[in-house]
C-alpha cells in the first residue's frame, strides 16, 4: 500500500464561514497503478492532490505514505518528500521560458539522488532533436512533453498530473496519455491523474469519484483501455 488516508477532513475558512473541501475521506492507493481522481469543479479533487503531494496539510485525519505520516511532517520535511519521491505535471506546463528544453528538464535532474539520463528521457518523450530550443518555439503538446520529461527525469515514485490534457486537443491529449501509460509500464511509476474528463477514467487501474468534498465511489477497472482507444468527452 502506497498511500493510506484515514478520516481526512480539509476545511478552509472564509469571510462567509467554513468550507469543507474534503469531508471524512478514507481510502488506500496501491503502488505502481494508474489512479484517476475524477470529479466536477469544486468536488475536492485538487485538494486531494494537494494533500497527497504534501503541498497542503489536512485539518483532521491521517495520511500515510509508505508508512510515513505526511500530516505530521513540517514544511521542510514535506519539501524533502516531494523532492525525493514525487514528480508533477501541471495543466499550464510551467516551463521556464528562458531555459532551453534540456535545461528545463535539468531542473528536475538536479533534485534527484538517482535521476534518469536526460537524453534518454528526452528521447522517450520524442523531443531529443528539440533539446536546444526554447519553449516559445514549441506547440502545446510538445511543451507538455517537456513537463513530463522534467517530472520523469527525477525517477519519482509517484507522478502527480493535474489536468495534464486540459489545455490540449483530443489528438495531443491522447498522445500525452499514451506517453504516461508507457512511462507507467516502463518505470513502474505510480500515476495519480486529477481530471474532470470522464473518458480518461477508462485508462486507469483505480478510479476515485468525488463530489462536493465526499468520496462517491472507488472502482477498480477490470479492463484498462489504451490511451489511443479512449472515447474523448
Amino acid at each position: 500500500m502506497l498511500y493510506k488516508l484515514e478520516n481526512i477532513v480539509k476545511t478552509y475558512k472564509s469571510a462567509s464561514g467554513s468550507n469543507h473541501a474534503l469531508n471524512d475521506i478514507s481510502l488506500e492507493l496501491k503502488k505502481g497503478e494508474v489512479i484517476v481522481i475524477l470529479g466536477p469543479s469544486g468536488s475536492g479533487k485538487s485538494t486531494m492532490l494537494n494533500l497527497l503531494s504534501g503541498i497542503d496539510t489536512p485539518s483532521k485525519g491521517k495520511i500515510t505514505y509508505d508508512g510515513k505520516r505526511l500530516d505530521k511532517m513540517n514544511m521542510e520535511q514535506l519539501a524533502m518528500y516531494r523532492r525525493e519521491h514525487l514528480g508533477f505535471i501541471f495543466q499550464s506546463y510551467n516551463l521556464i521560458s528562458n531555459l532551453t528544453i534540456k535545461e528545463n528538464v535539468e531542473m528536475g535532474f538536479h533534485l534527484s539522488s538517482d535521476p534518469l539520463d536526460i537524453d534518454e528521457v528526452l528521447d522517450a518523450v520524442g523531443l531529443h532533436d528539440h533539446k536546444n530550443k526554447y519553449p516559445y518555439q514549441l506547440s502545446g503538446g510538445q511543451m507538455q512533453r517537456v513537463a513530463i520529461a522534467r517530472a520523469l527525469v527525477k525517477n519519482p515514485d509517484v507522478l502527480f498530473c493535474d489536468e495534464p490534457t486540459g489545455a490540449l486537443d483530443e489528438a495531443m491529449g491522447k498522445n500525452i496519455l499514451k506517453l504516461l501509460q508507457e512511462m507507467n509500464k516502463v518505470y513502474k511509476t505510480t500515476m495519480i491523474i486529477v481530471t474532470h474528463n470522464p473518458s480518461i477514467a477508462d485508462m486507469a487501474n483505480t478510479v476515485i469519484r468525488m463530489n462536493s468534498g465526499k468520496l462517491v465511489e472507488v472502482t477498480q477497472n477490470k479492463k484498462v483501455k489504451k490511451a489511443e482507444d479512449l472515447r474523448w468527452a
Binding site: 516531494r82 525525493e84 535545461e103 531542473m107 535532474f109
Partner: protein
Amino acid sequence: MGLLFRNAFKGLKRKKIQMFGIILLITLSTGIYVAMNTALDRLEDRYYNYLEEQNVENISGDVLVDYSKDVNLEDLEYLEEHELKEMTEEERELFDLYKTNIEYENESIDVNLTTNIEYLFTKYEANAYLEQKKLKPLQDTYRFDFEYERSKVVMDDDFIMKVIPYNADKKINKVYVREGKLPEHEKEITMLEGFACANDLEIGDTFQIGEEEYKIVGFTYASDYIYPLITFSTPIFDEKKNNIIFMYEEDYKKVTGIFDNTYALRFRDNPPRKFEMTLSEEEEEKEISIDEDPIGALFQKETSTITVGMNTVSRITRTGALQIEFATNRLFADYFLYLLLTISVIIILIVTKKRIEDERLQIGVLKSLGYSKYSIALSYLVYPILGSMIGGVLGFCIGSLLNGTMAHMFLSYYNVPLSGFSIAISYLKDSICIPLVILSCLSYLIALIMLRKKPLQLLKEGSNLKVNFLSKFVNLVTKPFPFKSRFKYSLASRSIGKLLIVTITSFATGMLIVLTLIGMNLFSGMIESSFEGMKFDYMAYMNNQYVEKIDDEDDVVLNATLPLKEVLNQEGNKKEIENLEDDESIGIIGLDKDAKMIELVNEKKESIVNLLDEDSIIVSKNMKEYLNLEIGDQIVLQNGENTLTYTVVGFSNELMSFAAYVDREVLSKQLGYEEAVYNVIYSKNAKYKSLSKLSEEELQKIAYVMSFTDLKNNIMKQMDRFNTSIYVVIAFAAIMAFIIISVIASIIVEENKKTISLMKVMGYKSKEISSIVLNIYTPFVILAYLLAIPTMTSLLKWIVAQLVGDMQITIPISISFMHAMIGLLALLVAYYIAIFIAKRVLNKIPLAVALKRE
C-alpha cells in the same frame, strides 16, 4: 476599461513594496527640494535685508600713500599739531629730517627715511590723515562714502580674535546686537554668541584678553564679518577659537595686537550709479564694464590709490561667501530632485511593463473590442498619480518642518541673524506638480509604446514567452557553467531593464562612495604633503622691506609679484602658453642659499637650492605644468620699464604654491635696493603665536602673522567634521541603493512568483530558491562598483588637471585598498538587506500558485 483601473488599484495592495518605494523616493526628493529651497529663500531674503539694514560695505581696501610724493608741508604741519604731538626726541629728529626733505622738494627721498617715517606715522595713526586726504577727492566722482575701520588681531595660545573699538557714530558696517547691549564703559566687551557658547560663557561673565579682564555685556555680530575670516591661519571658522570683540575705545588703545586697519567703502546708490570714465588708450584696451562691475572699474582706474591688500582679507569671502553657498545649494536641490525623479520614473516604467505583460490578455480583449491604446494607457497612470500626490504632499510637509534645521545648518559658519519659522505654500504646488507631470507624461508615453502590439498578438498563447537576445547570449556564454549558475543568469537576463537599473544604481552609488573616500584621503594627503617640507611654524609678513633681521635664527625672504612678459625656450624663441592671461603676474620669492627652514627639493628629494645664482630661477611643480617649462627655458618679467630674465634651473616638488625662487640678494638689487632686503620672516619662535610676546617695535613692523601650527590644527579639526559628513554621505548613498534595490528585488520576486512556486512544489529548498532567484545581481553589483573606482578616479584627475592653473595647487588623487573595500562593504550591506527583505516575501509565496490555471 473600469476593469483595468480596478485591477490597478487591487494590484497596489499586492505591490506594497514597489508603491512604497516610489512614494519614498518622491517624498525624499521633494522633501529635500522644499527644505533646501525654503531655507535658502528665508536666508537670501534675510541676508540681503541684513546687508541693507547694517549698511554693509561694498569694498574693503587699503589706501596707498607714497611718502616721497603724496605728502606736503601743510600736511606735516597739521600732523605735528595733532596726531604727532607726543613724539619722542628721537622721533622728532627723524620727523624734522623728513620735513626738510619735503620742504626742499627732494625728488628722491631715501627709501630708509620713508620707511621709518611710515612706522612713525602708523604708530601714532597719523597715516590715516594722509590716506583720507587721497580718498576724499574720489568720493564725489565715484559717489561713495567711507569709514576708517580700525581693528587689531590678537593672538594667544588658545584664541585668535579680532578686537574692534566700538563707535556709536558708525554708519557703515553697523554692529548687530544679538543679545544684551553694546559697551558703554571701560572694561565692557561684546563677543560672538557662538564663541561664548563653545567656551561656556554668558552675559555677565568675565573674559581675559592679555593681562586684562573684561565683562561680557552682550553678543554681537560685526556685519562685515558674515563669514568671520579673521586670519588665514584659521581659514575655516572655529567657533571655539575665533572671536570678534567690540570694546571701549580706551581699552582698545591698550590691547596688544597687530594693527589691521582698512577702509570700508559703500556706494551711495544701490545699485551703484553708472558713471562715465575717461580712459587712456591703454586703459580702454583692458576696460571693465562699469555697469557690470563698478567696484572692479574703481580699482582699475584708481589702483595707484586703492588696493585690496592681504592684511585686509578678502571682502568677497567675508561678506559674499554666503552667496556662493546659496547658488551651489540651489543647484544641488534641483539636481537631487531630478535625479530621484529619474529613478522613480525608471521604477514606474518597470512596474508598468510588468503590469502590461500580466494583463496582456485583458488588453488584447479590450483592443479587439475597439478600445484605443490611448484610453487603455490611462489606467497605467494610477501609480505615477498616486505616487506624486502622496509623495509630493508628504515631501512638502517634511520639507517645511525641516527648513528651519536646514537654514541653521547653512548658517553654521556664518553670522546672519535668523529668526522665525515660515512655510511657503508655493512649494506645495512644485512638490506635487513637478513629479506628477514628469512621471505621468513619461509613464503614459511608455505605456503607449508597450501597447502598440495588435490584439491578436496579445491574445496568442505563449506570446509572453519569447526570449530576448540578451537571454540567448547569456545562455550561450554560460553553457560551461553548472546548472544553478546558468539558471541564475538566465533569470537575470530576462529583463534588461532591471539589470540595467541595478547595475546603474550600483555604479552611481559606487561613484558617490568612491568620490567621498577619495575626498577623505585627498585632503589629509594634501595636508600631510603640504606641511611635510615645512620646517617653520610661522610666517610673519612685514609691512615694508627691511635689511636687519629681527632674530638670526629665522630665515627671511623677499616676496615680489611681477608681471610675466614672456617665456622663451632654450633657443631664445617665444613659447606659446595655453590659457595664459594677458596680464599674468607671478610671485617671486628671493631666498638665501643657506636658508634652513625652506627646502627646495626636486622629485628625487635632492636639494636644489644651490643651483640659484645670478640669473637662475627654480619654479614650483604647478608653475612648471602651467607654463609648460623645461630646464633651460627663460622667464622674462617686467619690472617697471626694465625686464628681468631668469633661466630655469630646477623644479621644486611642492603641492601648494605657484611660485618661483631666485637669489634674495640678486632680486633685491634688481628691484632697486642697495642691499639684500626682506619682507617675510620664516620662524619657529613661539613669540609669533601670541602677539603679546612681541615688542612694540616688532609689532609695528609686522603686518600679518600666518601660524602654520594653527592652520594645520584648524584644517585637521575641520577634517574630523568633514570625515563625519563623508560617512553620512556614504550611508545616504547606501540607503538610496537599498531603496532602489529593494524595489527591484520585490519586482523580481513578483515576476518569478510562478517559477518560485514551481520550485517549491518540485522540492527545492528555500535557500536554493532565494540563491537562484534573488542573488542573481551580486556579480553585477560588485562589477559596477569596481568599475566606479577607476571611472571616478580618472574623472577627478581630469577635473584637477583643469584646475591646476586656476587654483595653483596640485591635488593627489588616490583611494586606498582598505577604503575601497569599506565602500564595497557599504554597498553590499545595502544590497543584502534589500535581498533579505525580498526573501521574506519569497518565503510567503504559496505553493498553490504553481497549480493555478491561466
